[in-house]
């Protein structure tokens, strides 16, 4: 098992361990914590959007509708696709975070 780091959710102070190979959301659920809303757990639905305010992480594939290109480098990410490389501090996405993502990816576009 790879080394585990500590993740702290700033909004509620919840702390839990997360191995480098596991998504923050999955580690939270597995340990019975409820701090971040759980949706698809696979980078698609955007429900677990967070901002990483401190620490390093790797990100897995995420829908650009919820995390537009370039925004991940600022710490905006889906918690299900955040793999910690150090201890992390995370806060839940604000309405403003979500609005700014949606402006970059307009609703209702035909997928083809």
């Amino acid at each position: 098992m790879t080394s585990a780091h500590t993740v702290e959710i700033e909004d509620c102070g919840t702390r839990f361990h997360c191995p480098e190979s596991e998504g923050v959301l999955q580690a939270m659920e597995r340990q019975g914590r409820r701090a971040i809303p759980v949706g698809c757990r696979n980078g698609g639905c955007g429900l677990c959007l967070v901002r990483v305010t401190q620490g390093d992480f790797k990100a897995g594939p995420m829908s650009r509708r919820h995390v537009p290109p370039g925004r991940c480098a600022e710490g905006l990410a889906l918690a299900c696709r955040v793999y910690p490389q150090s201890d992390l501090k995370v806060r839940l996405a604000t309405d403003m975070d979500r609005q700014s993502s949606q402006q970059e990816c307009p609703k209702g576009q035909d997928g083809r």
Binding site: G39, C40, N42, G43, L47, M62, D110, G111
Partner: protein, 307 residues
């Protein structure tokens, strides 16, 4: 009444973030067979009990969701009739000649008021690995994974569900089998059939256009639903809810997610619908039972998690 016009759901094209992970999911877990990969990188799959060339198309993209759902029509003449009806209904219809998609004949493509793209076609080449027709064994080789028998239906979320519902009824000949209605008469959800299944497509009212709630795969039995649940736990797949039963359709079900967050369903049972059956209506104060008959409550994700 014999089935004519639109026969059934034929294919669905789904966007995935990572093709390798998607193939592991749809091929190894759900049990679909890969048929071919096209020059543009799309992967075509089918369930073991389907005759036609393909029923599921995966396209790698940077955003999940559904590109298009296709319905098979009885014959080319019927396709021409439906073309005229769609134009008379004021829709913008693109007729696409064969060539860009393996094994598929000419097709009609249009966007419904909810923002979803639908296609109609009458011709698709048969797949040589389809079910046997002479002294037919159950299958060529025993099915893998969840043993999906076919692509069954989609539940789609969108804003103008009344207009899309009317399109399916008035132009495409579908019938409403079941619905959820608010006290003010607003239809929240509608279930539509083009044949004798409890639904071939369902629509739920939602703020955004063009959303996918789930694509559904038919399994043979409640036993196979349990087997699918075993597979989901064994491989740590993302489960939404189930095994459970829907009040609507009475189908036995599990909702779960593909590796890109698109919701899938495995579905067994469901009643047989005849065109003379009355519409079954649920009121919003009983919507929990309507959707999840055993839990008797919606989960948080039902109304909010879509791709």
């Amino acid at each position: 009444m014999a089935i004519s016009g639109v026969l059934r759901p034929g294919y669905v094209q789904v966007r995935v973030l990572d093709m390798k992970a998607a193939l592991e999911h749809y091929r190894d877990r759900i049990g679909l067979d890969v048929v071919t990969t096209s020059n543009d990188g799309r992967v075509f799959l089918k369930a073991y009990d389907e005759f036609d060339h393909h029923s599921v198309v995966l396209r790698e993209a940077d955003e999940p969701g559904m590109d298009v759902m296709g319905f098979k029509v009885a014959d080319e003449g019927e396709l021409d009739n439906l073309h005229e009806k769609l134009l008379n209904a004021g829709l913008s219809v693109e007729e696409i000649q064969p060539g860009d998609t393996p094994a598929l004949g000419r097709r009609l493509s249009f966007i419904a008021p909810t923002g979803h793209r639908f296609e109609l076609y009458a011709t698709m080449e048969a797949n040589p690995t389809g079910p046997m027709v002479q002294n037919p064994e159950l299958w060529h080789a025993e099915p893998r994974g969840m043993r999906a028998t076919r692509f069954d239906h989609c539940l789609l979320y969108g804003d103008e569900i009344d207009a899309t519902k009317q399109l399916f009824i008035d132009v495409l000949g579908f019938a409403t089998t079941e619905q959820v209605v608010a006290p003010d008469g607003t239809v929240i959800a509608t279930f539509l059939s083009c044949g004798m299944k409890a639904h071939d497509i369902a629509l739920v009212r939602h703020d955004d256009k063009g959303k996918l709630h789930h694509i559904s795969f038919h399994l043979e039995s409640w036993n196979d639903i349990g087997h699918a649940a075993d597979i989901m736990s064994r491989y740590n797949m993302s489960v939404d809810i189930g095994p459970t039963r829907h009040g609507i359709t009475r189908g036995q079900t599990i909702y779960f997610f593909d590796p890109s967050g698109n919701r899938n369903e495995v579905f067994a049972g469901g009643y047989t619908f005849y065109p003379d059956n009355p519409v079954r209506t649920w009121s919003t104060d009983e919507v929990g039972k309507a959707i999840f008959y055993y839990e008797r409550a919606l989960n948080d994700r039902f109304m909010t998690v879509v791709t």
